[in-house]
Symmetry: C2
Subunit: 350 residues, 2 copies
Amino acid sequence: MRNRFRKNIIVEMKNMNIRQLAKELGLSVSTVSKVFNKSHEISEETKKRVLETAEKMNYTPNPYASSLRGRKTKTIAVVIPEVADSFFSLAINGIEAIAQDKGYHVLIYLTHESFQKEQAILKDFQSGRVDGILMSVSRETIYSDHIKAVIAKEIPMVFFDRICEDVQTARITTNDFECGYLATKHLAEKGCRNIAYLSISSSLAISNNRMKGYKKALLEFKIPFEDRNIVDCDNDYNDNYKAIKNLLNNNMRPDGIIACVEKFTTPIYLACRDLNLSIPRDVKVISFSNLEPATILNPSLTTITQPAFEIGKAAATVLFKSFEKKSFRLELENIVLPSTLLVRDSTLKV
Amino acid sequence: MRNRFRKNIIVEMKNMNIRQLAKELGLSVSTVSKVFNKSHEISEETKKRVLETAEKMNYTPNPYASSLRGRKTKTIAVVIPEVADSFFSLAINGIEAIAQDKGYHVLIYLTHESFQKEQAILKDFQSGRVDGILMSVSRETIYSDHIKAVIAKEIPMVFFDRICEDVQTARITTNDFECGYLATKHLAEKGCRNIAYLSISSSLAISNNRMKGYKKALLEFKIPFEDRNIVDCDNDYNDNYKAIKNLLNNNMRPDGIIACVEKFTTPIYLACRDLNLSIPRDVKVISFSNLEPATILNPSLTTITQPAFEIGKAAATVLFKSFEKKSFRLELENIVLPSTLLVRDSTLKV
DNA sequence: CTGAAAGCGCTAACAA
DNA sequence: TTGTTAGCGCTTTCAG
């Protein structure tokens, strides 16, 4: 205890804390604290003096110490299946824009479409690490106990894009059903009569809603629904490539393909190339995608493009609203931002 | 104080803490704490009992309280210019893989290429929010005081891809000089004699090193260096498009283009289309890029592809090593992971 | 307007 | 093997 003072001097630039700063200023700890919390009970003069000295001594309040007392971490979590996907990376942009503006910090967690990882990640949130959660569930997520447990702890949560249907909380999505319908209708109008749908998961609402729209359009155009035309893809690039090649290397092969997510685009194009099938002459292709280079593909790709950035922003905005008003009812928030059909050459009528 | 007990019972499932759990178990807090810290001085039986009750009562230790005592946050920061770029999103994958494995949490910060934002973000790290930092500097970063301040506080930092030359700390990069050389040589061998280089910043080592390689190859092939062939792009899509169009809409127009980063690809292709220039006949194109669909572009794109995932992994690995060994000398780490030239149709000799 | 002191949830000496 | 206790750095009544 005797040489504590010396030690503090030696490392003062490194381990400054509020007590040291207060001592330096000849003020009490609470006065200094109030300055940093913008309290109105401190004189302008003192405020200025404190801030200047803090700057000089390179002092920044320890956020974890304040969160311990104040019970708010100023941190949110974003849980997504994948980051190397333009939908999710654009959504992160939107989230980060809002978070930075509000002075919040963003923890990122990737499930890689694994339910088990998702569980482990959510489990940790029980600890009070974050004030809220933005989440897009994995393709494997069927049970929701891990999500409900987090909500039971009253940690606000907002789903974006991929929701979990049996959890009642805010949902920011796009008009999946309608887009599935529009995509299919578009292909039908271009002359397709044998349309395949590449699903990312049979349990994901996003994928199923798009498929329901697909079925509705089939009905409308009196195109019979065929089981062989629904391909449940998985999470491995090579498996998907093979499944697609299989679908196309067949005398019943489709004359139109709808890809439910962007990552199927490359394997579709490559499979067509390898099988000597021409897009759009032999097969027309449309993909849900936010890929910027869609327009310079060979041929350019018709897409259903989601407002990814806006979805991220909306999700974050709703979450922050729930922080501001304790009475805010997250489960009543259900925002649907429409996607856009961008017609390009991959669905050209030939 | 009188009704505190009652209150605790009511919300016990929500605000469990170690004290409550200890009371429930008839044990002391320290015993419980030791169980969670895998101390060997606790009997198997007690351990089991504690863990089971914790599970039942939904207790998870508050990480910020432990970090306050233990002075480690189990959190790292990743500071990057942009996430909607396949190099950075793949690097994040690599970082996250290591972090998840080590039980660390990843805070993400985007500078959007703004020096000012970068400063503000780093300033916050003075607070002890993170145990370490992985960083790729913005295109605007010339001064490094904000970075040095963080290092002065002894917060370990590792640069990946975009380093800051006057800061001595670990660097994980790719062989930029060599790749600039290889790209240029490749174009020259395909017959180009008027090669443009699209730079992302005149102050970034990454961009300058690639350019130095470019110059070396020019010299080797006796191609005169022309100022008009260096285009300093900026951060706005439309500006870049215009600059590229300008470069090409000119009787001195280049017969080869090297794009220093992936995001120039789309504007190059579109400018060529708009000017009725054929790739590769009129202009050959090569881009530093990790874009998966490079292979299905029209024409397919020749790329210098960086080991993005491995760079992320290596950066995180080095950072964690410095956590484990206090004596670890970060400034001696200088890992160079080589990129690959992938020849495709955009540089075909015609 | 400023200060004293209790305590946020946890860990780590040190005692028992 | 388990328990007591003093903080980690900060905020927040409450008193002055």
